[in-house]
Amino acid sequence: FTTFPDTPKWQKNHLTYRIVNYTPDLPRQVVDSAIEKALRVWAEVTPLTFFRMYAGEADIMISFAVREHGDFYPFDGPGNSLAHAYPPGPGFYGDVHFDEDEKWTENASGTNLFLVAAHELGHSLGLFHSANREALMFPVYQSFKDLAQFHLSQDDIAGIQSLYGPPPPPSPTAPVVPTEYMPPRHRTPAKCDPALSFDAVSTLRGELLFFKDRFFWRRPRWSLQPQRHLISAFWPSLPSELDAAYEVISKDTVFIFKGNKFWAVRGTDIQADYPKDIHTLGFPPTIKKIDAAVSDKEKEKTYFFVKDEYWRFDEKSQSMERGFPRRIADGFPGVGPKVDAVLQAFGFFYFFNGSSQFEFDANARRVTHILKSNSWLLC
């Protein structure tokens, strides 16, 4: 790998990006999703996070243009130069330009927007070209047969981590395994791994969904046998490694959380004007993300779990209730201190914490069973 001369890099880890315009070759949400996936490629192996802006000057301005487009580096029509980008810095630095004269696609035909975007964003972060043919930062376009198998080469990872270091270690309670960092995108969780933990769990129209990394297991009503799917196969624009998910049955909607954003999905459709910011639910600015959530369909109350506390949201008045947060240990004795995911089923709450699951009887206010988290997957 190489970095730009004088090794320019961003002096902050939280970067903003803005998609300034769109190509007519693809639907907007496909472009949104390709750019988001391309940013996630780099976010997974560094401490960097990316926040989308919809107006004003972002660190990384992403646009489509043809021929002379105001930066003295005119594009050249179809083929040859596909796109270019500028190293970190103010103004047009960090920006990405795509040549609109290319045929942009979301698969292996034509010019795959995700692949080119991931490469160009490498430049926006400070990587120059690599002479390693396996590397994403190799200058000549190489399409992938199976895009789902795409991953950064070690050369790319070494390059970007030479600028920004590795991602922060998992939460302090999780064992730090001294092996080479294997980004979640490469892990393929095994349902009967006794150490299996979940990122999020939810019901969906009578089915059960168990989310982990890029995948989820689905336990349909008509079959006890869980099936594993890629999240992106059902909801292409959803991120992986979710934080929380819950269904509000009265609305036939599942709400899915990651970081400070949340989405509303109805079946496989993501509702318009989502994602929204979690603070629109009534969380204070100090809350950056939630760990788990579950909606009690009888009481029409939704519980949000953040570290060792929980909040209660009233679905009827659509507002966060007063007198919260409270300690999880007080409201749900025997559960916690931290919660990965929560499920309500058969009149119980099921709290998932690492590879353990606590069946909680809300009436008796006590834990009635402790199970393995993956017991629902018939292991």
């Binding site: 040859n80 596909l82 796109a83 290319e102 120059f128 070209h129 002479a131 200058p139 000549v140």
Partner: protein, 83 residues
């Protein structure tokens, strides 16, 4: 001779493509007015070898078919060397 003219023209095109490629991506001396007078002049050969090495081609210093094919493939517009 028409054949000779056609070959000449083809060669001219090859030279122009290679010159544009090396100028765009290998910092080939715009400022030093290095002109592609003869593709076997040493600065040109050096630049061709630099490009072949970076792109993982056999370093022949010549505009052989592999090199021409690689230069014809779609790529990123950011240079491979230099500022």
């Amino acid at each position: 001779h028409p054949l000779h003219g056609a070959v000449k023209e083809e060669e001219q095109k090859t030279m122009e493509l290679a010159q544009h490629y090396l100028e765009s991506y290998y910092n080939f001396g715009k400022e030093e007015k290095q002109i592609f007078r003869r593709k076997d002049s040493s600065p040109v050969v050096k630049k061709i070898q630099e490009m072949q090495k970076f792109l993982g081609l056999e370093v022949t210093g010549k505009l052989d078919s592999d090199t021409m094919r690689m230069m014809g493939r779609p790529r990123c517009g950011v240079p491979d060397v230099g500022h």
